[in-house]
């Protein structure tokens, strides 16, 4: 049960009521005061003071001063009239309750409205601030624009002045020049007739069109002759040979072989995946014998041991399984060369070369080998020119290989020899 505070004292004027409430040592905070139009409550636990006011007051303007163990209220009356007493007498419990609730509700509403009003004012302030900054920035921009415009105009005027100067200067100069030149023409004409004049004079026939501020024509030809004698003769013609820096990777993108390299890699990948499905004959083969790579290795081993026929067989089987691996054809060509099946060697090298397109640094070695083998086959068939062609192609791919160089030289000699003897 709260303790009621009853030792309040009050006095009034026509428009205000001054209420003093001693607190008996308790501390009051602004939160402990609740005031509405007709109801005033002070709750400082354990003390409680409430008053249903005689007449409505203006609670927004009324103040409360807390200090010195005392609260001093200044309540402004809504209607200036003298109150009989501070509180309404004869208030029964229900009325009191009702008044209290009403007061609370009203207070709540007021609070809500206040927040709304505050929000609106805040927004307005923001808008105003924004507009103000925008105006400032506009002004700044305009100022800069104006400065630039002024510059532009100033510069344009200068340009005009300069242009007019040019024109005047030019016409003046041209008049002067003509006078000078007319004076010079006479002795020049004599000089010309004396000398053997080899140089042709173009534009002799053209009319003296005066094109704005350029000079008249026929005078200028003479002046040119005059100047020519002061100029040195044309340089003696000579040639300077240049070498260009070889382009190492990375090349300029527009020249890069990226597209071709991609193609080559793609092709290789494809080739490895293809399996020629000729399974009927191959059923009795062992698992590993169906693998073209294994067969290729077998073939290589047999070639190394000198069993060329066996190697050819291995390669044949491999080709049947996968006909797009260039290395198989390349190696088979080598075997055929050893077996002196020259036409077959040529065929195989050609097939290998076909499969080794597009030409990229990756398959350089293979291509060199293919060319060399085909070249050898041609030479052994005594088709020396074709052979030489292949050797030269090989050289182009790999210019630093000395063996190929030597062989190419030999073939050239052979060709010259046969040509001489025929």
């Amino acid at each position: 049960m709260p303790l009621w505070l009853r030792e309040h004292s009050w006095r009034q004027t026509l428009s205000a009521v001054y209420l003093s409430l001693p607190l008996r040592g308790a501390r009051a905070t602004p939160g402990s005061i609740f005031c509405s139009e007709r109801y005033l409550k002070v709750s400082v636990p354990p003390f409680l003071f409430e008053a249903v006011l005689f007449a409505p007051i203006d609670d927004t303007n009324s103040t409360a001063k807390i200090g010195d163990g005392n609260i001093f209220f200044t309540l402004y009356k809504k209607e200036p009239a003298m109150w009989d007493s501070l509180t309404l007498a004869n208030t029964d419990k229900e009325q009191l309750q009702y008044l209290r609730e009403n007061a609370v509700l009203k207070a709540q509403e007021k609070a809500k409205e206040e927040t709304k009003a505050r929000k609106i004012t805040k927004q307005e302030h923001k808008k105003y601030a924004l507009e103000a900054t925008m105006k400032l920035e506009e002004a700044e921009r305009k100022r800069i624009e104006d400065l630039k415009e002024k510059e532009r105009q100033k510069v344009a005027k200068e340009l005009e002045l300069w242009k007019n100067q040019q024109k005047d200067g030019d016409t003046y100069k041209s008049i002067q020049k003509e006078e000078e030149l007319y004076q010079e023409i006479e002795p020049l004409k004599e000089r010309k007739n004396e000398k053997m004049n080899k140089t042709q004079i173009p534009n002799e026939g053209t009319s003296k069109t005066r094109f704005k501020s350029t000079k008249g024509c026929s005078c200028s030809i003479f002046s040119q002759n005059l100047k020519e004698e002061q100029l040195p003769a044309p340089r003696a013609a000579a040639t300077i040979k240049v070498n260009f820096t070889p382009r190492v990777f990375p090349t300029a993108l527009r020249e890069s072989r990226v597209a071709e390299e991609e193609e080559w890699l793609h092709k290789q990948a494809e080739a490895r995946r293809i399996m020629n499905s000729d399974l009927s004959e191959l059923e009795d083969l062992k698992e590993e014998e169906k693998n073209p790579d294994w067969l290729k290795d077998k073939g290589n081993k047999m070639f190394a041991m000198g069993d060329y026929l066996g190697a050819v067989n291995a390669y044949n089987l491999a080709v049947r399984l996968n006909s797009s691996l260039p290395l198989l054809y390349l190696n088979r060509a080598a075997c055929h060369l050893k077996l002196r099946n020259l036409h077959k060697a040529i065929e195989d090298s050609s097939k290998a070369l076909e499969l080794l397109t597009p030409p990229v640094p990756d398959n350089e070695k293979a291509r060199v080998k293919a060319h060399v083998r085909r070249g050898t086959a041609f030479c052994q068939l005594e088709l020396y020119t074709e052979g030489l062609q292949d050797y030269e192609a090989a050289l182009k791919i790999d210019p630093r290989n000395e063996d190929i160089e030597k062989d190419a030289e030999k073939i050239r000699h052979l060709i010259q020899g046969t040509m001489q003897s025929s």
Partner: protein, 359 residues
Amino acid sequence: MSAAGLERPQVVSHVQQALSYTVFDCKWVPRSARLLCLGSAARGTGLVQLYELHGARLELLREIEKPKPIKCGTFGATSLQQRYLATGDFDGNLNIWNLEAPEIPVYSVKGHKEIINSIDGVGGLGIGEGAPEIVTGSRDGTVKVWDPRQNDSPVANMEPVQGESKRDCWTVAFGNAYNQEERVVCAGYDNGDIKLFDLKTMSLRWETNIKNGVCSVEFDRKDINMNKLVATSLEGKFHVFDMRTQHPTKGFASVSEKAQKSTIWQVRHLPQNRDIFMTSGGSGSLHLWKYEYPAQRSKKDSEGSEMGVAGSLSLLQNVTLSTQPISCLDWSPDKKGLCVCGAFDQTVRVLIVTKLNKI
């Protein structure tokens, strides 16, 4: 933008002219307010248009059509009175035209087998001494020097060694023409080679490789003892070489800058101040640079031979004018700060760069 920012040189776009053809080169006519645009019309013929600056617009004075598209032109080798234009076209022909009577060229030769990418002239316009000469660089890998008094054959020919695969020559420039005998040609190729040919001794004086194709080379002045050479390349890089001191093995000292993310198409030095130059880029932007010399331009290396010291670069201003590459740029030799540039969006723009006096 602070006030200090406005003290830098500003690039003011004065006139913009839309053209109905692709412009490859634009040049001021010396001693006048007129400019030339060279290019290729849609139907595959060459066009030369002569404009005059009238207030805020360009007035077309003359239009000349030629059978082959024209790639480049120069006034460098003619006298001030004649002002003949030397052009290189897509077919490898070098022609010199008198613009008042352009039906028949004053000089014509089929100099190259493929398009002439770049042309430069020296000895004319009252600048420098010695015979007027024209150099052309072509896609066929050769660089040829011509004298307008000698028909049909070049006075110097820089060609690849027999059997060597050729590289396109993209740009050429004359330099070091300070007396009657001395002359040097610098050529840039598409594989990044820069070669310096000495015409007096007819030999290769220096070469280097800057890894990316060289789009444009220019000496800061053609008619002085060679001082600086700027070479621009693909991928936004350019190099400034100090040409006063050549080291026997290391060549010339250089400083390089990576400015724009795209190709730097052209570099042009301001005729009135040889330390200021403008680079134009593939993103349609122009950058104005200033070169500052180091405290000492040369120093001795460990073996006692002289080597050059490169200076530093500062960016004075940059501006983006177009979305397409600005492929050609020319400063007016008569009015400081006036320049013309042509871009692949078929417009030619006359620009004025202000406050160059205060640099």
